[in-house]
Each structure stands twice: as structure tokens, then as C-alpha cells.
């Protein structure tokens, strides 16, 4: 599809998973929306177009990541826990 980023799917997944930590108790964590932009250097290194990550189901530790016209869903309770912590 159009608007593909310069990031391959493999590297994208690899980078998205980086930094995952051990799972925590997440049932009460709110849904979160994270937008990383190119100008927010270092948030997601190598992604050259806006990236949207959405915690679809905190209890299940599921994160939906969208970039360009692609979407992947990852089960990463650790990442969800970190996002929940960042959201305060």
C-alpha cells in the first residue's frame, strides 16, 4: 500500500517490542493512546512517519500499533504497564 514507511515490518516489530518489561497487574489500567512523531526524536527510533499505539485491552496486555497504513496487535503486558505508569 501507499505511504509505506522506510521501516520494514520486521524492524518495525522489533523496535516496537524494545523496552518491554515484566508484566504487572493491569486489569485496572485505562486505555491509552500514544502518538510518536518524527519530531519527538528518540521515542521510536527509525520510524519516519507518525506512529499511533493504542492500548486496546489493558487486562490482556494488548497494544495496537499503527503506522502508515499498517496495523499490528502485540501482546506485551510489560509495555502496557510502562504506558500506564507514564499516564499516571
Amino acid at each position: 500500500m501507499e505511504e509505506e514507511t522506510k521501516v520494514s515490518r520486521r524492524s518495525f516489530l522489533k523496535k516496537s517490542a524494545a523496552g518491554a518489561v515484566a508484566a504487572g497487574a493491569l486489569a485496572a489500567a485505562p486505555s491509552l493512546l500514544l502518538v510518536a512523531e518524527r519530531t519527538a526524536g528518540g521515542v521510536v527510533d527509525g520510524v519516519t512517519t507518525p506512529l499511533v499505539a493504542y492500548v486496546k485491552d489493558a487486562a490482556k496486555g494488548e497494544v495496537v500499533i499503527m503506522v502508515g497504513t499498517r496495523e499490528v496487535t502485540r501482546k506485551d503486558p510489560g509495555l502496557v504497564a510502562r504506558l500506564a505508569a507514564m499516564a499516571g
Partner: protein, 477 residues
């Protein structure tokens, strides 16, 4: 209307609202098929300062299924780009727009076209044209003098004598919307209504409004399986399915304060279909309110899930209820006894709208056929093997094989055709197959909303829909 504001969600998103779809063998060059897909309902021509335009953030698509599985084999994708030459004025134009390169034209749209072979999200995708100019909207004699020439200049020729146009047109659909949605009122038949009123002529409620059209003219061989020339109407390869849609990206993050070129909205994720259109009036009056948004999001290959709404449409019950005295046969059919179900499913409607009509199945139709296979899918079925020689606004009901439901031409009176079909006019054709006896009510052959033609003459050549009304001179009555 045909499919204008027909579902709760899309009624709030006009830029993506797919309002009408037409597909027909081109009457000027019968080796080609012309497809018109309309968006943005009921454009008030005096729409300044921000006149109507396609959405830069919308993916507009026209799909063709040429092997009857309900899945597209060919897709044309259109993406638009708006350019503001001078953001320091509130004006759409700073003087007369005399050409598509006029420096006075401040807000312009260009577009690119891709062709996808195979499923539209995973198939082989090729850019076939880019940076094509849309014409300006029709503002008035000072801003857009000589509008026809401006619009004609925006008919672009592509390789292989293909043509494309994307821009504002007159709303070519005609309907008495105000009466129909006042409890099924049909003004000429007002005295026969359950709540009677004096008979009167229909009123064209789309009169004086505009729409935005994507028009494409391509050889039949671009659309048919294996590039078949479509010369024999009896050849199954001559029948193709056509539908169109609009999609938006799944995620939108508004930028808040400072929104603009330096701080744009963020859009990401896969395309999500928010509007689709095959046969006219389906999501309007066949699909119930609670499933309209869902219907817009679904794919024709899955339309069997909606089949019961076609085979037992609410509309046939309403006609019997509201105009029972004029439709005794239909009334007895839909309710043979108090609380009973209809005598039989409306397989005539399912054939017309979901599979097409097989060759030889209905002797009364002679050689007519547009069957695409047993998969139930709501799209326009066009047998490109029938030459574009007829001119009956009632299409097949008028004995004209080149009109709806064989594709759809701009002048086909689809409101009358579908009203008559649902009222029972086509049921006798399949009654022997159902093992029932049914004689259509005389009223089924004449029922109408009283609006029989568009207020503006259609063009006699591509893109066929009339030039748009100007904001300076227009009216709705």
C-alpha cells in the same frame, strides 16, 4: 435518497458519503464502460467561502468483480490533494478563473489514480496517473465564467483512450424525498394513502443541488475476466459486478491548538471502509436502521448475511399497509392471514439485486441475463454484451436491456423501478419457480413518486452528469 445520508454515521461525514453509482456501456463508444461514483450529498451551490471538495484524507475506490466470487479483481483508487496558493486571503479565488492554470485560483485539488489487480488491500498496485487537476467548483459569472470549458478541460485522457474526471457535477439523481419520508407518501397516489391527501405532482428534492463525481471510462477489456471483449451477452464473462466505497484511516489524532501545515492531524493505520454503494436505495430502504452503519463497513462477498432483508423487505409490507386498497394482491401475499409470514420469499428481488438473472431462467425476459454466480453480493451487475441502444428510464421493466438493473444509467428512474419491483411487478416472473400463483396489482406497474426526470439535461458525452449549478444562479423549486 439513493444513498445520501442513508446511515447514521455517514450522515455526519458527507465528504466520504458515497451517494450514487452508475455503470453502463458507453453510448458514444460501445467498446468502453463508463462508471460514475458520486460523493458529498446535497451540495448547496452557494457554498462559499469554503466550497465543497473531495477529502484529502479519504480513499475513494471503484471495484470490479469479474469472476462472481464477490471479491474485487480490479480496483481503481483515487486520492486527492488540496493546495492553497495564498493562505493570507479568505477567497477561494482572487479574480476570474479562466483556465485550470489561472493564477487567480487559490484553492485547488489534484488527484492521483492507482489500479489494483487482485484484492484491493493486497493486490498488485500500479500508479496510472498523478497530479490530475479537478476543475474549480461553479461559483458564478464573475469567478468561473465559461464554466463548461473549465470543466471540459478537466476531462483527462489516459493511455489507451481511457478518460477520467473528478469534480463537481449537478446532482443527477431525482426523487421526491420530502414526500417519501413523510410516511411513505407518493404525491400522485396521495388519495390512496392510509392518511390521504390531495393528489399532486412529485417534487424533485435534489433539484438545484450539486455533488462531486469520480468518472472513469475504460475499455470493457480492462474490467472483464481475461480481458474478454464482451461482445456476446450470452458469454458469462460479459457480466461483471461493480461497486464503490470510501474509506478513512483507522486512527485520527487531532492536533489541537496550532493546527495547520506545521502541526497537522495525525492519521495512521489501515483503511476502514465507512461508505459503500452498489445497487441504489439498498442501505436507504432495505437495510434496517440498526445495521446501516455495519452494512457500510462490510464487503459484498459477505452480503448473504443481509439476504433476508431483500427477500422479505420491510418496504413491501409498508406498501401493503399504506396503500392496501390499491395493492390487494400484494397485501394478500405479504400477509395471507393475520400475523402470518409472506407466502414466499422474494427471490425475484434477490435475483435482481444479489446474484443477477441467469440466462434462460425467466422465459419472459428472452436473452436477458446478468448473472454473476450464486454468491450473493450487492453490486451493480452489468452485462457489457448488451449494446447501449435503449433509452427507457424504466430499464429492464421497460424492455430495455441496457438499463437498470443491467448496470445503471444516469437517466434510469431507479426509484420507480425499485418501487414497482418491490410492489410486486417482478414477482410473477418467478412465481412458477416458487410454485405459487401471483398476479401483480395494476398499480404495481405504475406506482411512482411522480418525479420522472432530472431538472437539468444530462450531457451526451463523458462524464454525462450535467455541469454543476452555479452559486450565483440556482434554485431548489
Amino acid at each position: 435518497m439513493s444513498s445520501h445520508r442513508e446511515a447514521p454515521s455517514i450522515s455526519k461525514d458527507p465528504v466520504a458519503d458515497n451517494t450514487d453509482l452508475y455503470a453502463f456501456v458507453d453510448p458514444v463508444d460501445s467498446s468502453k464502460v463508463t462508471i460514475l461514483s458520486n460523493f458529498i450529498p446535497l451540495e448547496e451551490p452557494a457554498g462559499g467561502p469554503n466550497f465543497f471538495e473531495f477529502g484529502d484524507d479519504v480513499l475513494y475506490e471503484i471495484m470490479i468483480d469479474n469472476n462472481g466470487d464477490g471479491v474485487e479483481n480490479v480496483t481503481y483508487q483515487f486520492r486527492f490533494k488540496t493546495t492553497v496558493e495564498n493562505p493570507n486571503t479568505f477567497l477561494y479565488n482572487t479574480g476570474p478563473i479562466t483556465s485550470l492554470t489561472s493564477p487567480s485560483w487559490n484553492v485547488r485539488q489534484t488527484y492521483s489514480i492507482w489500479k489494483v489487480l487482485g484484492p484491493r488491500r493486497t493486490g498488485e498496485r500500479t500508479l496510472i496517473a498523478s497530479d490530475l487537476a479537478s476543475p474549480p467548483v461553479n461559483i458564478g459569472p464573475r469567478s468561473t465564467p465559461g464554466y463548461a470549458a473549465l470543466a471540459d478541460a478537466a476531462v483527462h485522457s489516459l493511455s489507451g483512450a481511457r478518460k477520467v474526471f473528478a469534480g463537481q457535477r449537478d446532482e443527477g439523481f431525482f426523487v421526491d424525498l420530502g414526500s417519501i419520508f413523510d410516511l411513505g407518501g407518493l404525491r400522485p397516489f396521495n388519495p390512496a394513502h392510509l392518511i390521504p391527501l390531495p393528489a399532486m405532482p412529485g417534487k424533485d428534492d435534489t433539484k438545484g443541488y450539486n455533488v462531486h463525481t469520480i468518472a472513469l471510462q475504460v475499455p470493457k477489456t480492462d474490467l472483464t475476466a481475461g480481458g474478454y471483449a464482451g461482445t456476446d451477452s450470452a458469454d458469462p464473462r460479459s457480466s461483471i459486478g461493480i461497486w464503490s466505497s470510501a474509506s478513512r484511516q483507522k486512527a485520527l489524532v487531532r492536533s489541537g491548538i496550532g493546527h495547520g501545515a506545521s502541526n497537522p492531524e495525525v492519521q495512521a493505520g489501515p483503511w476502514v471502509q465507512v461508505s459503500r454503494l452498489g445497487n441504489p436505495l439498498i442501505n436507504e430502504v432495505i437495510i434496517p436502521l440498526g445495521k446501516k452503519d455495519y452494512w457500510n463497513s462490510t464487503h459484498p462477498k459477505d452480503d448473504a448475511q443481509f439476504a433476508s432483508y431483500y427477500t422479505n423487505p420491510e418496504l413491501q409490507h409498508l406498501i401493503a399497509l399504506l396503500y392496501g386498497a390499491a395493492f390487494p394482491s400484494l397485501s394478500a401475499f405479504v400477509s395471507p392471514s393475520p400475523g402470518a409470514s409472506p407466502v414466499a420469499p422474494r427471490v425475484d428481488l434477490a435475483a435482481i439485486l444479489l446474484t443477477g438473472i441467469p440466462l434462460g431462467l425467466i422465459p419472459a425476459l428472452g436473452p436477458f441475463n446478468n448473472f454473476t454466480g450464486p454468491v450473493q453480493a450487492d453490486y451493480l451487475r452489468l452485462n457489457v454484451g448488451f449494446p447501449p441502444v435503449g433509452a427507457s428510464p424504466f430499464g429492464l421493466l421497460g424492455g430495455d436491456f441496457a438499463g437498470f438493473p443491467n448496470g445503471r444509467r444516469v437517466f434510469d428512474d431507479t426509484v420507480a423501478i425499485e418501487l414497482r419491483a418491490v410492489a410486486g411487478a417482478t414477482l410473477p416472473l418467478v412465481a412458477p419457480l416458487l410454485g405459487i400463483s401471483f398476479t401483480a396489482d395494476p398499480a404495481a406497474g405504475v406506482v411512482d413518486d411522480g418525479v420522472t426526470a432530472n431538472e437539468a439535461p444530462y450531457l451526451t458525452s463523458f462524464p454525462y452528469l450535467a455541469h454543476p449549478h452555479s452559486g450565483y444562479e440556482h434554485g431548489h423549486d
